[in-house]
Symmetry: C2
Subunit: 441 residues, 2 copies
Amino acid sequence: MSTDFDSSERHAAHPRGMSRRRLLGLAGGGTLGIVAAGATGGVLGRATAGTATAPVAPGSDAADAIPFTGRHQAGIVTPAQDRLHFIALDVTTDSRDDLVEMLKTWTEAARRMTAGQDAGPVGAVDGNEHAAPDDTGEALGLAASGLTLTIGFGPTLFTTADGRDRFGLAARKPAALVELPEFAGDRIDPAISGGDLCIQACANDPQVAVHAVRNLVRLGAGVVSVRWSQLGFGRTSSTSTEQATPRNLMGFKDGTNNLKAENGQALDRFVWVAPGDGGPGADWLAGGSYLVTRRIRMLVEHWDTVPLGRQEAAMGRRKGSGAPLGQRAEFDPVDLTHVVDGKPAIPADSHVALSNPTNAGTAILRRGYSFVDGSDGSGRLDAGLFFIAYQRNPETGFVQVQRNLAGDALNQFIEHTSSAVFACPPGVESGDDWWGRALFT
Amino acid sequence: MSTDFDSSERHAAHPRGMSRRRLLGLAGGGTLGIVAAGATGGVLGRATAGTATAPVAPGSDAADAIPFTGRHQAGIVTPAQDRLHFIALDVTTDSRDDLVEMLKTWTEAARRMTAGQDAGPVGAVDGNEHAAPDDTGEALGLAASGLTLTIGFGPTLFTTADGRDRFGLAARKPAALVELPEFAGDRIDPAISGGDLCIQACANDPQVAVHAVRNLVRLGAGVVSVRWSQLGFGRTSSTSTEQATPRNLMGFKDGTNNLKAENGQALDRFVWVAPGDGGPGADWLAGGSYLVTRRIRMLVEHWDTVPLGRQEAAMGRRKGSGAPLGQRAEFDPVDLTHVVDGKPAIPADSHVALSNPTNAGTAILRRGYSFVDGSDGSGRLDAGLFFIAYQRNPETGFVQVQRNLAGDALNQFIEHTSSAVFACPPGVESGDDWWGRALFT
């Protein structure tokens, strides 16, 4: 396999830890440098794969990287990136040591990939030809793209359905980490629900999100297997006041009144787990959050036949502006007492009325994505919203909101087809810290 | 439903045909104008949904639009956009008139959406509240995003499997428009194969591609139903010398020697159907092309365990540079006679060797996209390449290439799970022309 011509690439010196982009930008004497110039005289720089990311100058590799370390995990209040790859995994080993070792390996890989580097120190193309590469290569030349990786632990990691303490973690299980109840109208498919572990990968380039998940799966071989996996092509929530509100596949602005990164006190009240919250043994979760996912199929073919006025009455907002009915602009207050022509401007069974904090008495941080997963075999698109919510306690968060939505006028246009809950530990620190250290030690 | 406050929006005057973006930019006196400024003082402009597209100045709406009309359909040699939504449909009516009417309606909507406008002249938010909107709304505020819409006609549109002439088109069926043969190793699922019609939507914002497909499905209600649908998150081909070569999910640069928009003579020889090509009655297809799609699952978990040298030997190229083995740089010639250490530098069973024009005696224009469609239920990702190829004749194009790949060293890492062939008519002209006019009249 080796050839004379290729030796320059094999031996191209580059420090461990150098980013994918910097590698390609600086290795001008080797094969890679020649390729960077390529057939187009270098006009396209290092944008080797399909991406809307603008070309970047060599050395600016950290420009669009989001810090991996911190008090909380990134990817929760981080301004929502455009694309999602979410994965739930089953742990297939009985060895606690192997599980811990994988979490350490994952953390190291996550540190690297969120900084725009290969998953491992050797990289996709620079290793021993007799060994499998420690990166899969499809993100070579792509920027960090705002990648965040957020891990969660499912109820079954602590105790199996029949009560078995799989990894000696039963005493550390937070009281609030229980499977979600069944809700009216649920059409949950168990095959795409639950999971021992989850990873939420968000990025502005979908190939970067997919690359990250795929490499973590690779590094987990023999310890975990893929339970289910969901791509989301477009964000449907803003999690920062700096972001404009996107539209979901019903064509409406979604999440106008979402909790936002700037709502510090509300985040402490509604999103972050406080010491003592989780019951005896669960202090490891302080600074973390509970993650609820729901795959919500939208019956878009039906919805698209509904008159505009009825769509708006079901939602409780104007389709164009996003204004609450009876108001002028998107961020005008939702006033459930406002009456027009003797009737509530916002119908009592509208989504906005029933999910409003005034009714629900709580708040959740939403972080969902639109999906299209092919067709349903009956002539329709299988499309909708992959709903993601973070909260301090699922029972007083999503569960309470969802119970209030039992009479939601939108319900005839949607179906919940997947459900999961995870406890997301606090952030990792710099150095040798790793995902779940406080849980396992 | 109507309120005093909302009347300004209902009556906001804007000419028919004004683009989504211009509408939001200029309607400053109405609700939409207020919203455009929004909570952030207008900093984010009209980028209302998740997209990496930079904010654009009002009036610049056509900047990233690709012309819909022309001698050939757009979306074939158009520089490959980043994202894909492909859909295959079954015609559910027996009425030729209804089918023709739908094709005319589709053409008009395609003209509008590729220009960054709503699917219909009223729009998603400005219609009669008692009528369903003529646009679904999720692309409001998004740019044209390089959207192309390309239509194809499947063999079953002309004659059913039992030979029935459904729409009086049997005599117009091109001789080369026949179902693809079965190839060694095929694992084709009929439920996600074939189709009477197809639409390929490519765009740089996935929400724009999804929006376009979804609105064409909506406009086809009662005439067509969705047979299957495939999203692709990242392009794996370049179709212009202006584009850098992207990487597929094997981590390799894909399609280095692809036909490109700039290869005029080769396109006439290998891509565009010439008058007389299709046999008696098929001159309507002159200037068109045949489209072959193959959903190629990659067994990525297996591939990721393969040593670098063996990966490169199977591909026939270096993973880093993309250079043919034995050469220095990506675009160096593929020299199958080059010998290193007494052996061919490019192994005879490598993908590059077997698919090389020297062996295959033909060329096809590839336009594929990477996909991840969740998991396979057995602990692995369901990921791979949605292969798209355009050619002048499937028999001397894809079929010939694929037969040559029977011994491809890559075959043990891939599975073809879906297959389809379509005849794509020539481009439509300005004015009253419509998709398929030459076929139906």
